[in-house]
Amino acid sequence: MNYLYGILSQYLTPLTSPFFLLGLILSVDIAFRKLNKLTHKVLLPLIFGCGFFLFYIVAGKNAETAKWLGRLNNPLFAVLAVIVVPAIFLPRGKYYKFFLILPLLAIILAVADIISQILASPEKGFHWFLIRPGYLIAAVAGIIVIAQNFLKLDKFRNFTRATVLVVLLFGGFAFRQNYTDYKSMIERRQNTTPDIMNISETTPVMRFDNRLVYIPSAPCRFASDGGYVQGCIMELTQRIHQINFDKVFAGDPSEVSLLAIALAALLSVTVLAYIGARWWCGWICPLSTIGELFNFLRKLIGFSYLKPTKTARITAVTSGVSLGLFSINLAYLYTKIDKEGKFMGCKIPIYPFCKICPGQMVCPVASMADSSYFVLPGMEWLFGFFKVGVVALTGFFVIGFMTSRRIFCRFCPMGMFGGVFNRGAMLAIKKDPRKCNGCGICNEVCPMDINSIQKEMVKTDVSCFDCVYCARCIDNCPQDKCLSLEFAGKRIIESDFTKKMNNG
């Protein structure tokens, strides 16, 4: 398995570049929009693929360019390009089943890697699942792609969320890269001192080779043992604000490399956001998945949800923006603290937004991290700002999801980053106004309480800033072909009430 992984890592390196994924999707987009012949639609992405490989090889000859490109590499991009994108675009004919061999192979390789690592382990016993990140992500994508053939949209979304939640939340200890990584994680877990204001000694699984791996939405780095990825966009933004730019401009190699790594991570996450926009919130975000459990609890009890008023919605958005900006400024001020750890007499933690974010309260508890059970910060931290902030926002998170579905997601600064890409990027909700009867079901089923889709009777692109692309509106629309979800020029879901009725 080591040999195989080595071969794959060497030969498939260009596929792990975000530029390959972005270029592939853009070429598919052009092919679907501009070209009519199916052969041309297939040929264009293939020509791009060959061209990119040659470019990558030539660029790799230059040491600086190779390192520059290397900081962006991430197995997630390769998996999206090789397994997910073909699953979206390949025609569902009788030959589609041949493609399914690929995700099946990914699952088999992942199982083989786990078994080989167990057999090679110097210590007997259960060490959770030791698996290399590339295999795990490919296997998870493979499971989701195969499951998509058997599940209805609603069930498929929940299945995807649950699968990703397991990896992002429990991945920090359940899916370590190898035995050595696992043992060092166990060693770190011996420290059970509750510590709220410092970064715990946790290491995400996907933090290697001078790279940081972020995904849009909120995969909290405070999940047990560092979680699976480095974190969310807010963690990255705070990290960038703490870089000493005086040293960078003076050419300090360690500070320059920190900035380079952070900018590479920002570019990677921007590519992911451009491709998926706020789809990450609706299908991947562990924080909203946990929130949905509270929503489920509400339904179980039998309470009907409260529709947030326009004032409440605006307040949520403005509070999110204000608190996000304030916290980022605090992160910058952290670099100005004196020897006593204070700035103008106030104690400031290293990642201020994380200290008020409900993610840090919810994710560690949900992932059972012994050392991460939260304790409330004292009043000495910026006059109790963090103590009040964390209680208020965690309360807002729980009560918001329990009473008003996704009102919290309107506040969430991580989600707002994705919202910027909701119009003009790869994903779009399309509407045929001629077929709309204005029934308002799209508004009723929307967890974000978006009513603009119902009201829009002229434009065909009804994507908006708040949409999380859960596709409930499309799934429940009673008019055939009225609403649809487009990805890179291809209609991937459309409302088909007749088919739904016929299938019972």
Binding site: C50, I57, L263, V271
Partner: protein
């Protein structure tokens, strides 16, 4: 268009692609190198080194100990054996590596910066620059010590090297060798290149918003 003809075309394209790919893939495994410039030490040289008593080693009068820091931006090794030093005539010179100087960008097993020393003589220095190579395919028997000691009582036996300065800036009269450096002195600004694709992405976003398909 039937699926069969599409698949034939696709299979041909994939085969062509794989052929190109496998032919080119081994290009990754190239060694990287930098030319080292040897120059007399200045006062700051002794600031960052550990000082000690007179060396017990016997050096010929024309022999020199060259010490310097390898912190080329592209430098990245996993094992100290993956480095080698050659003189201008291509002969390998044994090097000593300072373990305490190891710098890793992420505290992982990768080394991105380290201090090395080697013994050479004035004649070899005059012949031309040294070539320092690193890469996975290199396997040298290098000596790794906790710290390279420097003996201030024998200052004249020391030389240091640099890969930073351009030859035209050097005062050759004070140098014991002709200097020739092939490195990119703008390497530190490469991080800014990450901003370019980001700008392009936002540009695409704006264009597609303004002119939806």
């Amino acid at each position: 268009m039937s699926y069969i003809s599409v698949n034939k075309m696709a299979i041909r394209s994939i085969l062509a692609f794989l052929t190109v790919f496998f032919i080119c893939a081994n290009i990754y495994a190239v060694e990287k190198s930098v030319l080292l410039t040897v120059k007399p030490v200045d006062d700051t040289f002794f600031d960052y080194t550990e000082q000690g008593a007179d060396p017990s080693m016997k050096l010929n009068p024309d022999q020199r100990i060259v010490v310097g820091l390898i912190n080329v931006p592209s430098f990245e090794i996993k094992n100290t054996a993956n480095t080698a030093l050659y003189d201008s005539e291509g002969r390998q010179i044994p090097i000593t590596i300072d373990k305490s100087s190891f710098y890793s960008e992420f505290d992982d097993s990768t080394i991105n910066s380290m201090r090395i020393s080697f013994i050479t003589d004035d004649r070899t220095i005059k012949k031309g620059p040294f070539r320092f190579e690193w890469g996975d395919n290199i396997n040298s028997k290098n000596t790794v010590v906790d710290k390279i000691p420097v003996f201030t009582t024998s200052k004249d036996i020391y030389r240091e090297f640099t890969w930073e300065e351009q030859p035209q800036k050097s005062d050759l009269a004070n140098y014991s060798a002709t200097l020739d450096i092939i490195v990119d002195d703008k390497a530190d600004t490469y991080y800014l290149w990450y901003l370019l694709p980001m700008v392009l992405i936002f540009f695409m976003l704006i264009i597609r918003r303004l002119f939806p398909a």
